[in-house]
Amino acid sequence: MMEITEGSHAVAEAVRLCRPQVVSAYPITPQTHIVEALADFVANGTLDAEYINVENEFSALSACVGASAAGSRTYSATTSQGLALMFEVCFNAAGMRLPIVMSIANRALGAPLSIWNDMQDSISLRDAGWLQFYAEDNQEATDLHYIAYRVSEDYKVLLPSFVCFDGFILSHTYEPVDMLTQADVDRYLPKFSPPERLDAADPISFGMYATPEYYLEFRYEHDKALKGARDVIAKAGKEFATLFGRDYSAMVEGYQLNDAETVIVAMGSLCGTIKDAIDEMRADGKKVGLLKIRVFRPFPSEDVAKFIKAAQQVQRIAVLDKNISLGAKGATALEVKDALYGSAVPIWNYILGLGGRDVRKKDIKDIVALAEKGQGDQFYGLRKEVL
């Protein structure tokens, strides 16, 4: 059913429909509206969950670890400083193979303190072993939660997921979203039934320590499961498409790629702006296309390579990053370059939109012009007057 709703509320409703039994909540801008909405649902009896008002985000994810290990579907939401505080627990939860789903309303990391959007927070945890989904709009932000639970809980995966969507830009804007019904979600997402749980009837020790004799193999298995999630995403996405008409089976998506001379690579809400800019540039005769990455972990190297190979007119690639691995480049650019190793096509990295700096259609056009001139690997949009 179509609704005009705030991004946070759409996400909260999607989570409600997934029937988590345990929700841990701690406020942090700009995800707070999600946990507030969930609290309302619990208070009014529409969400049958234990709602834990934890004392900080570290405990929020720790509580999810306990709940998931005990066999309950669990949820939390965070961003920025909160996610950074959870750093240790993120590695722990993933290594313990617990299928927790957590919403990240992407926000810049301090210092300097910023409440505004960029993707540094979740990108900085790309090593933690979680799946990472990035939403272009509120429809995706909503749907990706159903997909995330489905994929995370699959026995071939059993790994936690971040569902990332840009803070304020998506979380606080009203967009039309097609909300599923409870019956829809019950049909798509089976009851959580992990292969093992904390249970006196079958005692198991969780979270043992691994000596050098075993650690390497555990990490190998973890990496294998994460990379193998590609096939599970394909299957789960196809089934979602069959039931509900929206296809999430691919980890990347092309827009006007076939004859593109300039290809832009990006994630998140930037993609909406980029698509509009592409339409305008095409009307002016410029052949630009977009390769949107929707799943960042596991990184879709094969798909990136395949899509770029198919874009036979491509002369240059502009990778936009709302993050930077300081001292090096943007994370997406580094991964894309790795995926396209051996290609003769120049790949330029543009760092933009950090700390909530607005990115407009004009900026996309300017970036394409820079790429055409062979000027890249730079911060875009610097205010020279304050430097």
């Binding site: 290594g95 617990l98 020790s205 969780f206 298995e221």
Partner: protein, 86 residues
């Protein structure tokens, strides 16, 4: 043996580790002096002193580390620590 998912294990395998090999001194139980109070069994950090059908307390030397707590705490001084011949 294949790895478990997530570094987990079911009970039992700690018994593969025969900690009796750590021992320097061995507790020798004198069942004549024993009053069957069970203190040795209660206080053994290894949990390796067991009561048999007659109510006698027998140490499991496969696991006994020879710490000597049982000998020290036995109210009847029925346990003596002897250096083990290896």
């Amino acid at each position: 043996m294949a790895l478990t998912v997530g570094c987990r294990a079911r009970p039992g395998k700690s018994r593969d580790n025969k900690t009796g090999s750590w021992r320097v001194f061995k507790p020798i139980f004198d069942h004549e002096k024993c009053s069957k109070c069970g203190m040795c069994q209660t206080l053994c950090p290894e949990g390796c002193i067991h009561e048999d059908a007659e109510g006698t307390f027998i140490p499991d030397y496969a696991y006994c580390k020879g710490c000597g707590i049982c000998a020290e705490e036995c109210p009847k001084e029925a346990i003596a620590m002897k250096q083990e011949e290896k």
